[in-house]
Every structure is written in C-alpha cells, then in structure tokens.
C-alpha cells in the first residue's frame, strides 16, 4: 500500500473525486465503444499509425479543441471564484493549481497544437508537396506532444497538479516550497511535448526550403507558408533553451542540485531569465502563424492580392530576430540596473514597428477591396481593433520605469489576454472555419459561425477590459480572493460575465460542428471560398497524394491566375507516386515516453531505466529498418481522380 500512497492527491476535494470518476467513466466508454463498433483496427490503421500530414493535422486540431475546453473550464472556475469578494468556492491551493494549469494548457497544449495542426494540414498543400520532409518524424512529433499533454492532464488526479504558476518561478517551484510532485509534472510533461515541437520545427523548415513545387521561389510562397517558415525557425532556436531549462529544474527538484535554490551559490532569478529567453520567442511562435492566417483570409475575402508582400516578409524576418532580444521586459522589477532595463525597453518598443507594418498592410489590403463578410473574415476584422488594445497596452508595459506600477497586476493579465485571444485564438478559429471544407468536404454553418464570432469578440472585451481598471487600482494577479473594501468586486463581476459569455461562444462553435455535420450540404466545390492559394486547387477532401500532378508555379497567386487568366497549372500525364509507409513506431515510442515521464515524475528509478532502454531500442530498430515507402500506381490515381471529380 505504501507504494501507492505517492499517487494520492495531496489536497483532494469533491470536485477532484468527481473528475476521477468522470475520467474513469469516459475511458471505459471510449474503450467499450471502440470494441462494440469494432473500430480498433480502423483506429490503428487509419490514425494511430498514420504518417499523412493531413490526418496528423486533424489529430492536432482535435487535441487542441479538447485542451481548449480543459483550459476553459479552469478559466471559468477562476473567474467564478473571483466574481465576488471573499468567495469560498475554491481554496488558495486549488486556485493556485488552476491558474497554473490554465496557463500551461492554454499556451502549450492548446495554442501550440492548434498552430501545428493548421501548419500540418495547410503548408504541404500550399507548396504543392506530397507530404512533409520527414513524415514519420512528424507522426512522432504529434504523439510526443499528445503524450506530454496527457501526462500533464493526469496530474490533477494522480499525485497533484503543479501550483507554482505557468512560469513556475524558483524558489517557489523548488522542493522546499512545492513539495508535491506537481512541479515534476510541469518539468517533464512540457519536456516531452517540447521535444515533439522541436522536431516539427526542423521538419517544416526542411519541407518549406526543399519541397516547393517547381517555379515556386521563396518570394512566391503564400503568406501562411512564409509565416510557418519563420515560426519554425524561431522554434528551432528557442526550444533548446526550454529543454535545458526544464532539465535543470528537474535536477533541482529530483537530484537536489543548486541551480535555482537560494543556498550554495544557486541563483533563483536565472530560472526567470532563461524561462523568458524561451518564453518571449514563444509568444511570436504563437502569433506569427496567426498573422499568416489573417493574411490569407483578408486577401481572399477582400478579393485582392495582399498589399505589401515584401514588407510582410521583411517584417516577419525582423520580428524573428527581435523576438530573441526583448526577453528581460518580463522581469524589469527583478533588480538589474537601469542600463539593462533601458536596453530591453528599447528593443521592446522596436518590435512594435514591424508588427505595426503588418497591421497597416492588412488595412491597405482591405482598402478598395470588395469585402465579403464571411465567418473567417469577421474574425479577422474583429481582430484588428481588439488586438490593437492589447498591443498598445503592451507598449505601456514595455516602458521599464512605468512597469514598476503595472508589474504583477491584473493590468498585465488583461494585456496578454487581449493580445493572445484576438491574436491567436481568433486566428485559429478563423483558420479552422476557412480550411474546414478542405479538411472534411463540407462547410460550417455561416450564421451560427458569425454569431459565435460576435459572442466571443464582445465577451472578450467584457471579460478583460475590467481587468485593466482593477489592475491599475492595484489588484494583484494570482490572488485567490480579496476583501470587499478594495472595491475590486464590481470589475471582477463584470469579468465573470464576460467569461460566461466566452463559454457560450465556444459552446456555439461546438453546436456549429454538430449542426453542420448533420445538415451542411456535401456537394460543394473544391474551392468554395473562391480563394487564391494552391491548397484550393486539389479536391476536397484531399486525396492521400495531395496533387495527382505536381503543379507548375509562375506567380505568387498561380491558382488565382489559373482561374482568371487560364494559366495551366497541371501539365502532363499521371506518373506513379512515391509515398511513405505507415508505422506504429512513433505511437509505441511515445507511449514508452509517457511511461518514462510518469516514472520520472514519481522518481521511480527502475521503471525509468527500463523505459529509457525501451526508447533507445526503438531508435536502434528504426536505424536498422529498411523502409523504402510504396508507390501509388497510375491506375489507382486515375480511379481516385475520377471518383473525386464525380463527387463534385
């Protein structure tokens, strides 16, 4: 029995026991359902072993939506707790756990996979490739992310959630102040997911640099692909920092080293420093693909080519460099001198310039465009004013002298939510709606989609604008309650109403999926939005090999030219197509990684050694394996093409 005691939740409550039961029942229901409908084989063949970038993209999107609801549930609980003064809904410990997991889940397990999902699905199609450069590595990336996310999510029912904030600052996150295994989960689950992300970065840079269709020079790439290239470049150089940082944190917690402790020379602030060396580029990893989505959507529905293509590219390249030069603005109050603060303050101001260039380019694309308001376009237009609120308050926070006033208040919380929700979440919802017909062959309902967009946009304002005021009045972030005399009550009540509104908005999106699955017409064309980029030139849903012939590119908008000017993109006869084989190895290896992480969290050394050997054996097997992929024959291509053309 003693062995199992470590898995107990140190700070249980009825809500946690209820979640345990709910998780148990859900797992049983899924297993029973798969068995009853005899879907195990289908699941294994078509999904768990797939190396197809489109299916991997869809799995990323499903995971992201699941995590959105997990993180959203956390958010609602927090806002409910703060809605009235001296509320007793949650105690301090639970509140700490919830704001920690809310942050981690939303950034690392919601926003990241959402971006990865769209990139996976769209980028190879936009450049006319058959798949990514390393399809099996891509599957491994997804499964590592997925297992990292699952490991993190079981923390609240097995052993206890992390409770030191999503930034997990030391010495609070050290063993002295965080005794439970919660912070171990933080270190190890994010480590596993981060490895997957790093692999994706390498994979997509190689794909975009080497696998573009003939004629597509770098300066003829669609803007979303450009944003993906820059994003992945940032990933490749930012994520190793996180790898080292988490390893050092793990050593402090499990091997009693003194990197971030306050004795024996340890330096707790080094954690904050390195965390933001990764953390600030991470912000741009999130927001640049979002900007890419807006560029595609705005150009499509303004019925114009994108204004200032070259300046868009240049501004992203500059952002990618500057994003590594601003990190210290996250801890201006930490005590480094005026010189350091001034330097980082100036670089912070500077990064607003290329971002501003992008905003003006979108506005000038809309200018004199024939604007069609569809759901994706509505998100994009709502994004501009809302994001500007977040951006301008960011410049306020970037002034190091003034930051002493705002630091650690709700003003900051309001700022980054006003950046991330319009900047990232709106873009992801716009992208999901925009590419939905390409993924599934039918469209989401426009009416429900638009009402969801309006609900979410208005609720965002209602939820986060009050925090600017309560923050300026002195409400500190991460406080689980406050007294009535502070006068924060009214602002927090308004915020809670906004949070409830956001919940309704996201529920509308779920309803929209349900409604559209049932009632949406299936006889749509391959190009329902009258769009401009290459992914719309193939069938919906997309066949396994993407394009029967490799497209010939000669302008930025070759597909548009082929529609309007009769340019011929697909020349010649079909040839047999080489495709990679499916493999169960990425999934199995990631399962071992999950066991490895779990053993590490609970410091169970023997299982840790066994799983480490298991991982190395998987790698050795892969090295000795002979796998040359397979060919799709010309007859098979003809058959598929005829069938898909007939379906239109």
């Amino acid at each position: 029995m003693e062995f199992f005691e470590r898995f107990a939740v140190p700070h249980p409550s009825p809500a946690i026991y209820a979640s345990m039961v709910a998780i148990g029942l859900t797992v049983i229901a899924i297993l029973a359902g798969l068995t009853y409908f005899k879907k195990w084989g289908y699941l294994w063949r078509e999904w768990l072993t797939t190396v197809d970038h489109k299916r991997i993209g869809i799995m990323y999107l499903i995971s992201a939506l699941l995590m959105l609801f997990r993180g959203g549930a956390d958010a609602i609980m927090m806002r409910a707790q703060l809605a009235v003064p001296e509320n007793q809904l949650l105690d301090a410990q639970h509140y700490n756990e919830i704001f920690t997991t809310h942050g981690v889940v939303m950034i690392i397990f919601m926003a990241m996979p959402f971006i990865m999902g769209l990139m996976n699905f769209v980028v190879p199609l936009q450049i006319g490739a058959r798949d990514v450069a390393f399809p099996r590595l891509n599957a491994l990336s997804f499964w590592l992310f997925f297992m990292g996310a699952m490991l993190f999510n079981i923390s609240f029912v097995v052993g206890g959630s992390p409770d030191a904030g999503w930034t997990s600052y030391f010495p609070l996150a050290g063993t002295e102040f965080s005794e439970s295994v919660g912070s171990n989960y933080f270190m190890i689950a994010i480590q596993i997911a981060g490895l997957g992300t790093l692999m994706t970065g390498i994979n997509f840079i190689t794909t975009i640099l080497k696998m573009r269709a003939p004629g597509m020079t770098l300066m003829k790439m669609p803007m979303f692909t450009w944003s993906a290239l820059i994003t992945n470049a940032i990933i490749v150089f930012a994520f190793p920092v996180l790898t080292v940082l988490l390893a050092m944190g793990t050593m402090d917690r499990l091997f009693a080293t003194n990197f971030f402790t306050t004795d024996n020379g340890g330096m707790d602030m080094l954690w904050a420093n390195l965390f933001w060396v990764w953390g600030h580029p991470e912000v741009y990893i999130l927001v640049l693909p979002a900007f890419g989505v807006y560029s595609e959507v705005i150009s499509t529905f303004a019925r114009r080519n994108l204004y200032g293509y070259k300046s868009m590219v240049a501004s992203m390249v500059i952002i990618s460099l500057l994003s590594f030069l601003v990190w210290a603005h996250h801890f201006f109050t930490m005590g480094q001198g005026a010189l350091a603060n001034s330097i980082f303050s100036i670089t912070t101001m500077a990064i607003a310039v290329p971002t501003g260039v992008k905003i003006f380019n979108w506005l000038l694309t809309l200018w004199k465009g024939k604007i069609v308001i569809t759901t994706p376009m509505l998100y994009s237009i709502l994004f501009i004013p809302l994001f500007t609120i977040g951006g301008v308050t960011g410049v306020m926070l970037g002034m190091s002298a003034a930051d002493y006033q705002y630091h650690n208040t709700m003003f900051l919380v309001a700022h980054f939510h006003m950046v991330i929700i319009p900047g990232v979440v709106f873009a992801m919802l716009a992208g999901l709606t925009y590419w939905w017909p390409k993924m599934f062959g039918f469209m989401l309902n426009e009416k429900i989609g638009k009402s969801a967009a309006w609900t979410i946009a208005i609720s965002t304002l209602v939820a986060f604008m009050p925090m600017f005021f309560s923050g300026l009045d002195g409400q500190a972030r991460r406080m689980y309650t406050y007294s009535e005399s502070t006068g924060f009550g009214i602002w927090n009540m308004i915020s809670f109403i906004g949070a409830a509104g956001l919940a309704i908005g996201f529920a509308l999106i779920v309803y929209n999926v349900y409604y559209s699955v049932r009632y949406s017409p299936r006889n749509i064309s391959a190009d329902p939005w009258d769009a401009r980029t290459l992914e719309w030139a193939t069938h919906s849903p997309v066949p396994e090999y993407n394009f029967a012939n490799v497209p010939q590119i000669d302008s930025i908008e070759t597909f548009w030219d082929s529609k309007k000017k009769g340019h011929i993109m697909f020349k010649g006869d079909y040839e047999k197509i080489h495709m990679p084989n499916n493999s169960g190895m990425p999934f199995i290896m990631s399962c071992i990684f999950f066991a490895w992480g779990f053993s590490f969290v609970f410091a169970m050394w023997i299982p840790l050694i066994i799983t480490t050997i298991g991982i190395l054996v998987c790698m050795a097997l892969r090295s000795f394996e002979k796998d040359h992929g397979h060919y799709i024959s010309v007859e098979e291509i003809e058959e598929t093409e005829t069938k898909l053309r007939g379906a239109k």
Binding site: L209, N273, F324, A328, F331, Q336, G337, L339, A340
Partner: protein, 96 residues
C-alpha cells in the same frame, strides 16, 4: 591505394592547423596575460577552430543548400551570442 589518396591535403592541413590553434590557446595558461588579453586569445582561437571544422571537415558549402546552411549557422551563432551576453547583462553585469 596509396596514402596520398586516403589523406587529402586540405584535411591534413586542417588537422595540423587545429593543433596549432589549440597550442595557441594554451598560451593563456602558460603566460601571465591580463583577463582581457586572455579572453581575446581564447575567442579568436575558438572561433577560427570552429570555422576550420565547419568548412574543411563538415563541407558546409558543398551543395546548393549552402545558403540555407550558412544562414542557419549564422542565425544560430547570433542568437547564441545574444542569449549569452544578454543573460550576463541581466544576471551579472546589470547589478552595478
């Protein structure tokens, strides 16, 4: 098969050169240099040594991907230096 074929000239030169650079770096141990002078010697020898490996041994510039490879390395080195010196600025030098 003669030895000349197995030991190409520029690789042998590269190896000898890297030994010389190592010896040059050792001067900071044997001579009594100031901190600045010592660090200058170390920086110069280390970066030349890295360049020798990169160009002569790793063939970084031999294919059409030369541009991508060098951009990648330069970008990595710039970000690495920014991270190292920025961290020192925030953690050590900034507290004066």
């Amino acid at each position: 098969m003669n030895l000349k074929e197995l030991f190409p000239r520029n690789q042998v030169i590269g190896f000898v050169f890297s030994l010389i650079l190592t010896a040059a770096a050792l001067t900071v141990y044997f001579l009594d240099l100031s901190f600045q002078a010592g660090m200058t010697v170390l920086l110069v020898t280390a970066f030349i040594q890295a360049a020798v490996q990169l160009v002569l041994f790793m063939h970084a510039g031999e294919t059409e991907d030369k541009g991508a490879i060098y951009t990648n390395i330069y970008y990595g080195v710039i970000i690495a230096l920014v991270t190292i010196f920025g961290t020192l600025l925030c953690m050590t030098w900034g507290y004066i």
